[in-house]
């Protein structure tokens, strides 16, 4: 018993649906292409081409066994190349492979809807790792495209025109936007993950490394990438005091400085803090490491639950267990005046004085010549700085390559280098003089963003300096670069300090308005990072307390939040109902018949029949027109009759109106 003819699915309509499906699949996979192994997009491309060939050239659909084998093979290859299927990247690769195979076998509406669903999910996978506002916008555009596809492909009848569907999908998304914002703010956030996640390969972007190896670097590209941002709540210190401490290098093999194994002593307890405290907040970009940076010298609260701890070399690290992919945001107190009274025992002093026996003979000879009159350690430091000042040393980012004795060659031959060369050479000189010394790496300076009122510290601000240990004064910072290029340290930024062709890649950045625009943009991006990307349990808690919805216990807060979410959904529903009811309000049925008669009257007016008076009935008007135009009398009578039928008789199938329309249209 078939009551209606099946939905007329002409080949052309089917082809249009297929094209839509392919457009959406291609759009949703697009953000993943650069991240996937080359064969995955290739597989998708082949699948799409094959599917099109099936539709256009009537190629055979691959048999079921072949499809199953393909699926199995693809699954194995993904598993083999990622060694897991848990995690965003492997999961995305698998999803794209599944989509490719689904495209190949897709036939009807149901398959197409499954592909829409997979596309949404693929976009979700992109958003798990995406951060920037532009990326978000780009993905929102793709969500819109997928929604257009949802509206189109869920239809049983012929597809709608692109313009109206696009507008409809846009309207649908716009109407969902307020609810999205409400739920985004109100939905209870969890402080930690639900299950362990396989590490995402967030590559380290730091300008700092595990080692300092100046001799091998011949060109240091200044990267404008941002390392972290700092917002001072107390008056910021002058630029020359902005030393942001990172890892320190102790071990030296004659060529490369590396970090010492952490010798775990409570060095932090022996610091004497002087002067006024400086309070600030650090918003760290992801580093892929457990390093955290702080203004020298930070004072950690005794609270054991703080997310940071200080190592024996005063470096701040995050506690294990904090995911390395997350952006850290922490508040600190530092003192730019301090005494790092690290009580070194003999073994420690030996560690910080150690030099490979055969390294740098010329440097050692030079240093020995300074020691002839038994100078104090302070005098030794001063003689070292004097040497750098008095000799023709140059600060450059493109130093020549150094040979087997890099420090000797640098100090006596080439005399060109950047901070690592100077720190390396100076530390070696101090060790040769018998003073415990090490290299400290970190950042120096920073750029004040006047728009956002915070400092931006970029990878190009990376720096290295020397720390010398003096009896009774502890670790003392000596920055040999200040002897060579004092403006580098005083002004706090390369952008300000170095002009000319010695600094590559900043030509655009020297244009004033470009710089200003970039600063405004950075302020916007920081707001985005803080309020969108960084929105979590803490911000939510603060917001709720401010709104007066705070709860004492976690569960109380949770239930309040859930209630608010439900309230938001109900309120959204109500608003939508009202809005749609307004859009869908019934108008008094447009009197089509009267409109047709008006058109007819206008037409007759051109033939010198005076327009219908308000008191004149249609019949009287018709008679008047007949008298005026006797040759058309019959037609006029028919039109008036059709009008009367359409207007005043039951015209259920609207045949009278149709007749009136055709007659009026044909009337000449």
């Amino acid at each position: 018993m078939k009551l209606a003819t099946p939905a007329s699915s002409t080949p052309a309509a089917e082809l249009a649906r297929l094209h839509w499906t392919i457009a959406i699949v291609a759009g949703a996979t697009l953000p993943h292409w650069p991240l996937l192994p080359f064969w995955v997009p290739l597989l998708l491309g082949v699948a799409i081409a094959w599917r099109l060939a099936i539709a256009a050239l009537e190629w055979p659909v691959p048999i079921r066994t072949l499809r199953l084998l393909l699926a199995l093979a693809a699954f194995c290859i993904v598993l083999f190349s990622y060694r897991t299927i848990n995690g965003v990247e492997a999961g995305s690769a698998l999803l794209v492979v599944m989509i490719a195979l689904k495209v190949l076998e897709s036939k009807g509406r149901r398959d197409q809807l499954v592909l829409i669903m997979l596309s949404y999910f693929l976009l979700f996978a992109s958003l798990l790792t995406a951060r920037g506002p532009f990326t978000a916008l780009y993905l929102l555009l793709l969500v819109w495209l997928t929604t257009v596809g949802l509206v189109q492909l869920s239809r049983r009848g012929p597809l709608l025109r692109l313009r109206s569907t696009g507008a409809l999908a846009g309207r649908l998304l716009l109407q969902s936007l307020p609810l999205m914002l409400a739920l985004f703010v109100l939905f209870p956030r969890l402080p930690g993950p639900l299950w362990a996640v396989q590490g995402t390969s967030t590559s380290a972007t730091s300008g700092l490394g595990d080692t300092v190896n100046p001799g091998d670097i011949t060109s240091l590209a200044l990267s404008d990438e941002i390392a972290f941002r700092v917002e001072f709540s107390s008056p910021p210190p002058p630029a020359r005091d902005l030393y942001w401490r990172g890892p320190s290098m102790t071990n030296f093999d004659g060529r490369t400085w590396s970090m010492a194994i952490d010798y775990r002593r409570k060095a932090a307890a022996s610091i004497e803090y002087l002067g006024a405290p400086i309070e600030y907040r650090v918003m760290l970009e992801t580093t892929g490491r457990n390093w955290a940076f702080a203004l020298e010298m930070p004072k950690l609260p005794p609270d054991e639950r703080a997310p940071l701890r200080m190592g024996g070399d005063y470096q701040l690290r995050t506690f294990p267990g904090i995911s390395r992919g997350t952006r850290l945001d922490y508040r600190l107190t530092s003192y730019t005046r301090f005494r790092a009274l690290d009580p070194l025992d003999d073994a420690d002093r030996e560690l910080f004085r150690r030099l490979p026996p055969e390294s740098s003979p010329r440097t050692r000879a030079l240093v020995q010549s300074w020691l002839a009159d038994n100078p104090t350690p302070e005098q030794v430091i001063e003689r070292g700085m004097d040497y750098l000042r008095s000799q023709p040393f140059f600060y450059t980012l493109t130093p020549p390559r150094l040979g087997d004795q890099p420090v000797d060659e640098f100090l006596f031959d080439t005399r060109e280098g950047f901070c690592e060369h100077y720190a390396s050479a100076f530390t070696l000189m101090m060790r040769a003089a018998g003073l415990p010394a090490r290299i400290v790496t970190g950042y120096q300076g920073g750029e004040l963003n006047g728009v956002g009122g915070y400092y931006i510290i970029r990878q190009s601000d990376a720096h290295a300096w020397t720390e010398v240990w003096l009896e009774g004064r502890g670790w003392v910072r000596v920055d040999p670069v200040s002897a060579v290029a004092p403006e580098r340290v005083a002004l706090g930024s390369w952008h300000n300090a170095l002009a000319g062709d010695r600094v590559p890649g900043t030509a655009l950045g020297r244009l004033e308005w470009v710089r200003r625009a970039l600063l405004v943009w950075d302020a916007a991006a920081t707001t985005w990072n803080e309020w969108v990307i960084g929105y979590g349990p803490q911000l939510q808690r603060g917001l709720l307390d401010a709104l007066g919805f705070g709860g004492v216990t976690g569960s109380e807060r949770w239930s309040k939040l859930m209630l608010l979410c439900v309230g938001a959904m109900l309120a959204g529903s109500l608003l939508l109902t009202l809005q749609l009811a307004w859009r869908r309000r019934r108008r008094t049925p447009p009197d089509d018949a009267a409109r047709e008669l008006a058109a007819f009257t206008r037409r007759l007016a051109r033939l010198d029949v005076a327009p219908r008076a308000p008191t004149e009935g249609p019949v009287a008007y018709g008679e008047r027109a007949e008298n005026r135009l006797p040759h058309a009398a019959q037609e006029i009578r028919a039109i008036i009759a059709a009008y009367l039928r359409a207007r005043y008789e039951s015209d259920a199938d609207m045949s009278a109106l149709a007749e009136l329309r055709t007659r009026v249209a044909a009337f000449r």
Partner: protein, 321 residues
């Protein structure tokens, strides 16, 4: 499973019938009578959004939350749009033309859209079968046909049907049940052609058909009992098929189609034969009258007379039913 769902639907529909009462032939859909539930696709969509929520919670991914909640909102918005797609739509019953038993009765239902917004993808569902969906532009109407198979003569009632939409997105199915008192007249199934029309009493078979003035109107297959004078012998010589010449013209003698002339047939078969004769007589443009139990139609001709005769046959009380 399927049967359970069907009986659940029947139960819900009868509940709705008690709630709504019977409908007139023109109904504007109000909020109170529009029902909406997620489709299977909608449930899968909800499941997907839930998985997204878990993923976002796990990764603490703000943008993931954004998409999750955007799609949550989208689901809600789609629900309202789906509901609004029916809301205020006017359903008008245009009726059905009579058919012969065994044919399909086609009930024509108009969907009128008097709002400024288009309505999309509205279909009618009747006894588990759905029509093709139609789009109704603002200020216009579209006509859909519900076909109902017929087996016996008499009235066939349309019964309950549903106005359904899944637009936009197919996540939800909004519907309303309509109970309009619409029925279609079903004529008796005509007997196979062949039995000749009975000639009028008194001028039996002996009467000489006067062929001279009549206009030749065509040929039909001959059947046993046809007058041999009217067999088309020339055509028989060419094709080996016996054909009967037919003539148009008002000069033919009127015939009386009488229930009692067919005593050897069962009552329903008699009605079928009478229906066939009515058709034949009308095709021959003859005037004819009809006499059946409970009704007697005087001699007449033309489509209206034919309709009246067939209606009388359709509604004839033979005492057996």
């Amino acid at each position: 499973m399927f049967a359970a769902a069907r009986s659940l639907e029947n139960w819900a529909a009868s509940w709705a019938r008690r709630r709504q009462g019977a409908d007139s032939h023109s109904v504007v859909l109000k909020r109170r009578r529009i029902y909406i539930l997620p489709t299977r696709f909608g449930s899968i969509f909800a499941l997907m959004v839930f998985v997204m929520l878990l993923g976002s919670l796990n990764y603490g991914a703000s943008l993931g939350f954004m998409l999750t909640f955007l799609l949550t909102g989208l689901g809600l918005v789609l629900m309202h749009h789906c509901h609004g797609n029916l809301l205020g739509c006017e359903i008008k019953m245009l009726g059905a033309h009579p058919v012969f038993a065994g044919e399909r009765a086609e009930f024509r239902v108009a969907l009128r859209n008097d709002t400024g917004q288009p309505r999309h993808e509205i279909e009618l569902a009747h006894q588990g079968h759905a029509t093709n969906p139609v789009d109704v532009a603002p200020g216009t109407q579209e006509t859909l046909r519900i076909a109902v198979p017929t087996e016996r003569r008499g009235w066939v009632a349309l019964g309950r049907f549903a106005v359904v939409t899944r637009h936009p997105g197919g996540l939800f199915r909004a519907w309303t049940w309509v109970h309009m008192d619409a029925r279609c007249l079903v004529y008796p199934r005509p007997a196979p052609p062949g039995r000749p029309l009975p000639e009028s009493a008194g001028h039996g078979l002996g009467g000489k058909p006067d062929l001279g003035d009549a206009d030749f109107a065509g040929l039909r297959p001959a059947a046993p009992g046809d007058p041999p004078q009217r067999i088309a012998w020339k055509a028989f010589a060419r094709s080996d098929v016996l054909l009967l010449k037919q003539f148009a013209g008002g000069d033919r003698e009127p015939c009386e189609l009488d229930w009692d002339a067919l005593p050897y047939l069962a009552p329903e078969a008699r009605l079928s034969q009478l229906a066939r004769w009515c058709l034949d007589a009308a095709a021959d443009a003859r005037t004819f009258g009809l006499k059946i139990p409970g009704a007697r139609l005087p001699l007449g001709a033309g489509p209206q007379h034919l309709g009246a005769c067939l209606e009388a046959l359709a509604l004839c009380e033979t005492g057996e039913r």
